[in-house]
Amino acid sequence: MAAQQQALPLNGIAPEPAVTYRGDHLLVAEMVERGSKVLDVGCGEGDLLRLLETRGIDGRGIELSREGVNRCVAKGLAVVQGDADTDLANYPDDAFDYVILSQTLQATRQPKVVLEHLLRIGRRAIVSFPNFGFWRMRLQLLVGGHMPRTENLPSTWYDTPNIHFCTIKDFVQLCDEINVKMERAVALDLYGRPLRLNLPWWFWNMFGEQGVFLLSRAEKGR
């Protein structure tokens, strides 16, 4: 209880907006057209939504933790307490121009269903996730013989919320399977910098620490 209260800003006053933004957030923001309407699923403390707002984008959020919701509300963001697995079903079709799922897909119970919802609710979806095919992951499993842990994914296998890890290659396959069109794909290195564009998929799958994808619905009847 005391810890919770401490986590909140003094007197509930929102802190000044962060000046530095996360690399993947900047990349996502750059993918969103100005003036569009965005739903950020798993918006945390609203950093990405704040960034989008500075670009004239009308953002909404869903966040699992009430502390996160509280912090977002204090920042003036419109955020609903909810769960990607259960609450996306209640959003109407075509409600948003973009639906963003940032670093959350691997923590959902049904990633495929969630992905389908993203592209039902939004005309486009932007999905980012940690790449389990990253060379350091492979090395830890191959040489160390244990489940990989990294700076960005420090949890042990028995208490991780991440129950559906995939590689970039796996994700591309899923998109093909459910008839999703990949408009843009970017792999980021360990420092959040984009890898060069003209590299082959296998290279991204090996050296991308995370993948960021701009998706849209493929033509019907393909």
Partner: protein, 400 residues
């Protein structure tokens, strides 16, 4: 023979409260024959009056007004000593200097609802046409009627747009009715522990309460003022039953368990052996001191009739189409009277209408009553919502 004790007679004489009905110790807005209140039942209520309290100051451009809507058994005394009971205001935890609803920043208005019994015209008021108490001659009122009356008060105060409408339970219903009926007059709305419609279970509980009142021989078909009686037993039972619905199994267990009241052993009677019985009887008897039985019938009825979706072809989202109001919806985990599912249904409808809505479910075992109690998480989100809304409305920052 078993020892039987029923609810104690009120310590405060009903006439003390009755005086507040026609001559409240509050600000009073009187509306004459030229300004009738057009009720949903088709009747024009005229003349009528609204008793209200204000806190803080209205700013120069009249942009900082907050309307607090009270719940079923609340009144306009949201943050001052109650003139009948002498107790602190019912939402002093939320409203006051430095509180989430900061009276140093906002001009807070709270009015007694139409149909109430603390100064706004209701069944306990004197009917000017007959010189007698209205009683059951008073027309049936609805939540939209209450809100219509509030718009007339706000007009009179010269306020075009409310910065925020805030309410819990029946107050939340009013806040939502404001947004559905007068969206352009509501910049933001904080709706707590409420719903856009009264559920079958809630109607059932209200019917139980009304039947308890009407079964009291002192009720006299609503003409108890003329008979010099007051159905305090019936109203007390109604309050006891209702009060259980405001709490939760866990809260009752934590507060009372099976503990005995001032005794070690059961008395083998129907006396209040258990603390929980004694507590409920106290709730019943203290309630009847400050509340009119007929008013209880009318206000519970108004809640029963409430259903925003029904007024919009059965589709809730249509009620909020294109709305610009900023919403914050709050529910409590252990509230089984207005459970989170009801708030979620509202949030889904608001999402479908592209409304700007935030929603949080606060974890507490204190049941529906949590919205009136000291729940820091609720205050935090309320404060954050109001402050960020204030910034968006261009109100000066706290302390500025």
């Amino acid at each position: 023979m078993a020892n039987v004790q029923s609810i104690a007679s009120p310590a405060i004489h009903p006439e003390d409260r009755a005086h507040e009905t026609d001559h409240p110790s509050s600000l009073l807005a009187k509306f004459g024959m030229d300004q009738p209140l057009k009720l949903d039942c088709g009747i024009d209520l005229t003349p009528f009056q609204i008793a209200y309290q204000t806190y803080g100051e209205l700013n120069a451009d009249r942009s900082n007004a907050v309307l607090v809507c009270h719940a079923l058994t609340g009144d306009q005394h949201v943050a001052n000593i109650h003139p009948v009971t002498g107790k602190p205001g019912w939402w002093e935890t939320l409203v006051g200097p430095g509180r989430p609803l900061d009276t140093d920043r906002y001009f807070v208005i709270c009015s007694n609802v139409i149909g109430g019994c603390l100064g706004s015209t209701g069944p306990a008021s004197t009917n000017p046409a007959t010189g007698k108490v209205w009683g059951l001659d008073f027309p049936i009122i609805t939540i939209p009627d209450m809100v219509r009356a509030q718009t007339m008060l706000i007009d009179r105060l010269g306020i075009a747009t409310l910065f925020c409408v805030v309410g819990g339970s029946m107050g939340g219903m009013q806040a939502l009715q404001w947004t559905a009926a007068y969206p352009e007059r509501v910049f933001s709305a904080l709706a707590v522990a409420c719903s856009t419609r009264h559920s079958a279970q809630n109607i059932a509980f209200h019917e139980l309460g009304r039947q308890a009142v009407m079964a009291d021989p002192d009720w006299h078909h609503g003409r108890y003022f003329e008979q010099g009686t007051h159905p305090h037993r019936g109203l007390g039972v109604a309050r006891m039953a209702a009060h259980i619905t405001y709490l939760s199994d866990a809260a009752l267990h934590r507060k009372f368990g099976r503990r005995m009241q001032d005794r070690e052993l059961p008395t083998f009677s129907f006396d209040a052996d258990f603390q929980v019985e004694s507590y409920l009887r106290h709730q019943g008897s203290s309630f009847v001191e400050r509340f009119d039985a007929n008013s209880y019938l009318y206000l519970t009825r108004a809640m029963d009739y409430f259903d925003i979706a029904a007024d919009h072809g059965g589709v809730l989202a249509r009620a909020f189409r294109g709305i610009q109001t900023r919403f914050c919806v709050v529910s409590f985990t252990s509230d089984w009277l207005f459970p989170t599912t009801e708030s979620r249904a509202l949030v889904h409808a608001l999402n479908a209408s592209s409304a700007r809505v935030s929603f949080a479910e606060i974890e507490t075992d204190r049941g529906h009553d949590a919205f009136l109690l000291d729940v820091p998480e609720f205050f935090d989100i309320s404060r954050g919502f109001l402050q960020s809304g204030g910034a968006a409305r261009g109100l000066p920052k706290a302390g500025g």
